[in-house]
Amino acid sequence: MKKLTVFLLIFVFTISSAFAVSSPKEQIKKTVDKVIGILKDPKYKGEKKTQQRRAALRTEISKVFDFEEMSKRSLGVYWKDRTPQEKKEFVELYRDLLERYYAGKIESYTDEQIVYTDERIENGRYAEVKTKIITKDKKEIPIDYKLYFNGKEWKVYDVVIEGVSLVSNYRSQFNKIIRTHSYQELVKRMKTKQAEELMREK
């Protein structure tokens, strides 16, 4: 009887935990809502607040994006050849530049409507959330998020803008540079870009 009670308690706890996990769509919606909240917040408005706004945006974005997974997928076959130090350095660089890119894109859509068109979950592990930004002139910009379940929550591992997978695009571009030049050249170019962005922020 005691064993059964323990089993039931564990079962109920597991079930309730499973239901407590947000769906991929909810996860994305929560982040997008927070991002829009930041963009509409008067304390982040204006050119002088650009740095604070960007920092707040990047904080929110980093909560749902798995940059290590994205870096790994973007480097493809060249990931396994990297030392732990190189991997760490690359992920940091990648995170910084991608956060800026994504924040910059989102920042330009301030009064537009965001529509969640579809959610697809495969084997309970992978998911795709399709969204559409509808601009003032009724132009539709599809942005889809690819997510995986890490056991606790859903994390984004790719963003598809207008049908272009950022990860696939970066993988082909990175591979081209590594093949024609070297991994070091790729990192050098990314660092140059980061340095320029930092100079701009000053």
């Binding site: 890119y101 695009n169 990314m190």
Partner: protein, 448 residues
């Protein structure tokens, strides 16, 4: 002089009056609204509507020919004197009847009821009915042209607005790029240079020129639509347009040709024209036969200075009464005039038959031409749709690579140029598809 309250009242009245005087009405229309208004209010259609009225009047005339025709005449004038004693007890022939010392009055009346005309009256009636149908079809033909012209203006406006969105999009990006380059130059960022700044500013000027041209063209189209829809000059016309989109369309040419033979105004004109011309041939042929009628004729006259004589052998037109009901027949005999007129009417009928042959062979050609044009326009629109999707992908890719530090500025410039060019061609292809659909619908008589 005036109290403050009175002055305020005057100002209030003046403001109210001026706002009433200058209040301009506003009409908001979409494509359907434009077409509905154009087919009802286009200034050119009035003339064609009057043609229908003429044939309606002719029909009324023909229908009335079956009713009796009454001729009534009243006369009055000086009367020469004539007394009974002039003929009694003996007839005197030297009476001077020129002694005018009275007046006379006379009323004559004739009622003619056609009984049998060998098809003359029904022929005129059928011809007038055909005339109405032919005029109505002519009006429909004109309406069809008006619909096509309205669609052309509407889709031109939609394309222009989509072009403006594109130009504004490029303008916004250029503005951002110019600002960023200027700031980069101030901060001595290595990738920034003056050359890029001048290049961007040159493009910016060109973009603004394009916007001015779009504004001008939009204003001209709105004015043209005002004319088409019969909108008064002091009324503001607002046209709502949706972004141009590729349309998946499937039409069977055989069905369209069959529809065209039923619905095209030209075919209706030929069908009704043949009926009317045949009726006119019958009318001319009826002149070969007598017109049979019933006639009632009467007259009543009286003079102040003449005696009424009740003698059937003596007739005094100024002092007499008569009533007669007769059955009559009238026949005009000529030696070739009637036959010539019949031949002329038959040739007119043959002319319409020739038109029928031309239409029966010409309409399928016209439909097939419009059909192949639509096929081409649809394929081009689909191909340009795909090209535009790829241009967007190219732009996103180039942009993402630049922001990751792994792309070239030249790639981005090429992508922007390709995006703009492809979008312009895409919009043109979408416009061509819309017009090709409109042309095919018109050729098939399905545009109403």
């Amino acid at each position: 002089m005036y109290s403050a309250k009175f002055r305020i009242l005057i100002i209030f009245v003046m403001i109210l009056f001026s706002s009433v005087c200058f209040a301009e009405d506003k009409i908001v229309l979409d494509l359907k609204g434009c077409i509905d208004r154009a087919v009802n209010f286009h200034p050119e259609l009035g003339e064609y509507k009057q043609d229908i009225e003429i044939y309606k009047a002719k029909l009324s005339e023909a229908q009335s020919a079956a009713f009796p025709q009454i001729e009534l005449m009243a006369l009055g004038g000086p009367s020469p004197e004539a007394r009974r004693d002039a003929i009694s007890p003996e007839i005197r022939t030297d009476v001077k009847s020129t002694t005018i010392n009275g007046v006379f009055g006379m009323i004559t009346m004739q009622v003619l009821q056609p009984i049998y005309t060998f098809g003359k009256i029904s022929g005129y009636r059928t011809a007038a009915q055909g005339g109405i149908k032919v005029s109505e079809a002519e009006l429909e033909k004109k309406r069809s042209e008006v619909i096509l012209k309205t669609k052309e203006l509407y889709w031109s406006l939609a394309m222009l607005r989509d072009l403006r969105n594109l130009v504004n999009e490029i303008k916004d990006e250029l503005e951002k790029a110019i600002k960023r380059t200027q700031e980069d130059l101030k901060k001595d960022i290595p990738s920034a240079d003056e050359l890029t700044l001048y290049k961007l500013k040159t493009y910016f000027g060109e973009v603004k020129r394009n916007l001015n041209e779009i504004d001008k063209n939009e204003a001209i189209i709105i004015e043209a639509l005002k004319f088409m829809t019969g909108t008064p000059q002091n009324t503001k016309l607002e046209i709502t347009t949706e972004p141009l989109k590729y349309e998946e369309i499937y039409m069977k040419p055989d069905e369209l040709i069959a529809k065209a033979f039923q619905l095209r105004p030209e075919m209706i004109q030929i069908k009704e024209g043949l009926r009317a011309k045949q009726a006119l041939v019958d009318v001319e042929k009826s002149n070969l036969y007598p017109q049979i009628f019933f006639l009632v004729k009467g007259s009543l006259s009286g003079a102040t200075n003449r005696d009424r004589i009740h003698n059937p052998y003596i007739y005094d037109p100024l002092n007499d009464s008569m009533l007669a009901a007769v059955l009559g027949m009238k026949l005009n005999i000529d030696f070739g005039i009637t036959k010539g007129k019949i031949r002329e009417a038959e040739i007119e009928y043959q002319k319409v038959l020739e038109k029928k042959k031309l239409a029966e062979s010409g309409i399928p050609v016209q439909i097939m031409k419009a059909y192949y044009e639509l096929q081409e326009a649809t394929k081009s629109a689909r191909d340009m749709d795909e090209a535009y999707q790829n241009a967007k992908k190219w732009l996103v890719t180039a942009d993402a690579n630049i922001d990751m530090g792994v792309g070239e500025t030249k790639d981005l410039a090429d992508a922007v140029l390709a995006y703009a060019t492809t979008r312009v061609n895409h919009l043109k292809a979408l416009y061509n598809q819309k017009m090709a659909i409109a042309n095919l619908l018109q050729a098939s008589g399905l545009d109403r």
